[in-house]
């Protein structure tokens, strides 16, 4: 199993505020890694750096052994190899579900329409978006459907890696399950994934490693059952106890 992504000593600050302070980790092919942590600790910034939407101040990122943070890198072709699923879906508002998935295939991969359509339909079916929804515009879809279309848009490009930035945080509670189910299936099918989420149930089920981030650093990392059930670090414990509180209130009573 080869290494797909390696992040080495990544630093980023906005003004005097240091958002990332020396992040280092790697992901092998087929692995799912989950990042948890309080908001404002640089998790989103980290994903944006990997996708080259944000330039880090220091440090290197490698995709399949190629340094993508070097100057003069072809950003578009790097991004085409990395899927990105946003918290607020960001489906193209003027395109139907099907066209959303097709755009990258025709304009980036340069595929003929018919082939793009075939791949797009396959991707939509794989996330449970059936034919009656293909011609709908984003505004006509539920949050869960939108996010699944967004996942289909990412997987249709056959990326090396998919980044998920809190993919269920903007969803109504009853819609979270359908999105997590799709993500679990993806993980089991061997997609390489880096997921920022508060869904510790998801992390328990599919993560190969959980990383707890706080104040720009990875404070603790390890198998989910260790980090989530037996956290060593005080800050991890405090964060998780708050998450558990929510679970208790929401699920049991």
């Amino acid at each position: 199993m080869g290494e797909v992504l390696r992040v080495e000593n990544l630093w980023k600050s906005y003004g005097r505020h240091e958002v990332l302070r020396g992040i280092t980790f790697s992901i092998n092919e087929g692995e799912t890694k989950v990042i948890i942590g309080p908001s404002g600790t640089g998790k989103s910034t980290l994903l944006r750096c990997i996708n080259l939407l944000v330039r880090p101040d220091k440090g290197k990122i490698f995709l399949d052994g190629e340094e993508i943070t070097r100057p003069g890198v072809d950003e578009a072709s790097v991004r085409a190899r990395i899927g990105f699923v946003f918290q607020h879906f960001n489906l193209f508002l003027h395109l139907t579900a099907l066209e959303n998935v097709m755009l990258g295939l025709t304009k980036v991969r340069g595929l003929p329409r018919e082939e793009a359509e075939r791949i797009a339909k396959e991707a939509l079916l794989s996330v449970g978006i059936s034919e009656d929804l293909w011609r709908k515009y984003p505004a006509q879809l539920s949050g869960g459907q939108k996010q699944r279309v967004a996942i289909a848009r990412a997987i249709a490009m056959n990326p090396r890696l998919i980044l998920f930035d809190e993919p269920t945080s903007a969803l109504d509670p009853e819609l979270i399950g359908e999105v997590l189910k799709v993500m679990e299936k993806l993980a089991r099918e061997g997609m390489t994934m880096l997921v920022v989420t508060h869904e510790i149930g998801f992390a328990m089920k599919v993560a190969d490693e959980v990383m707890f981030m706080d104040e720009g650093r990875i404070v603790e990392r390890g198998p989910p059952e260790e980090v989530i059930l037996r956290p060593k670090h005080e800050r991890t414990r405090r964060f998780l106890s708050r998450i558990w509180e929510l679970y208790d209130l929401g699920v049991q009573r």
Binding site: A76, S77, R81, F86, N90, H94, L103, M157
Partner: protein, 227 residues
């Protein structure tokens, strides 16, 4: 009065028709120039390098800060000093088109900034290059947001096309004045001219409303539904 109006129409319809033709040409061509120029300027202002964006801002402010008639006179009377001689119709079209471009740049800029930031990020994230993101994601949404303002602009231009009169283009107002001087029935003539403008404005607004409806996509268009 009605009799006078019928008389004028019967006697002078070829002149009125010629005037109408010129009014339509000025309006249509300068509008097309305005749309193309406006979109290009807006894109430069939003996505272009800083000096280019600053130049666009200066252009927009200069145009908006001076009367259109002055702009027309500069083009028609001052450019020949630099060896550029334009016939009246071309000068009028150029002046109105360049003017409209500045205003439309502002409409389009507003429309672009109304597009959620996430659209741009999503476009880049699937691997589109910047110009592709502009072309396939930003521009199709810009049209739809800007259409109501574009409708207003078309109707403005229809009426502003009359300033071509000042450089002797025989458009509607010019013909009105001419027919008036022949018949001394100024009120009747200008009533006819006014009715033609109203009819054209109604046609324009109805046409644009249909276009809006045709292009409308749930969740994008910001138009208030027409009753």
């Amino acid at each position: 009065m009605i009799g006078d109006i019928t008389y004028i129409i019967e006697e002078y319809w070829p002149l009125l028709l010629e005037g109408l033709k010129n009014t339509l040409i000025i309006t249509a061509v300068s509008y097309a120039i305005g749309v193309a120029l406006g979109l290009a300027l807006a894109l430069i202002r939003v996505y272009g390098p800083r000096p280019a964006a600053a130049a666009v801002t200066a252009y927009v402010e200069a145009i908006r800060g001076t009367p259109m008639l002055v702009q027309l006179f500069i083009i028609y009377y001052s450019l020949p000093a630099f060896g550029i001689v334009l016939d009246p119709l071309t000068a009028a079209i150029a002046a109105i088109g360049l003017n409209s471009g500045a205003y439309q740049a502002e409409y389009f800029r507003g429309a672009i900034s109304a597009i959620p930031r996430g659209q741009w990020e999503a476009a880049l994230s699937i691997g589109l290059r910047k110009w592709q993101a502009v072309r396939h994601v930003i521009i199709p949404q810009t049209w739809r947001v800007a259409l109501p303002a574009m409708t207003n602009e078309l109707i403005y231009l229809l009426k502003y096309s009359s300033i071509a009169y000042f450089v002797t283009v025989p458009e509607l107002v010019f013909m009105g004045k001419y027919i008036g001087s022949k018949t001394y029935m100024y009120i009747q003539v200008y009533t006819i001219i006014a009715m033609i403008y109203v009819a054209l404005a109604l046609i324009a607004s109805e046409g644009m409303a249909r276009l809006e409806k045709k292009l409308s996509i749930p969740g994008i268009s910001v138009t208030t539904p027409r009753q």
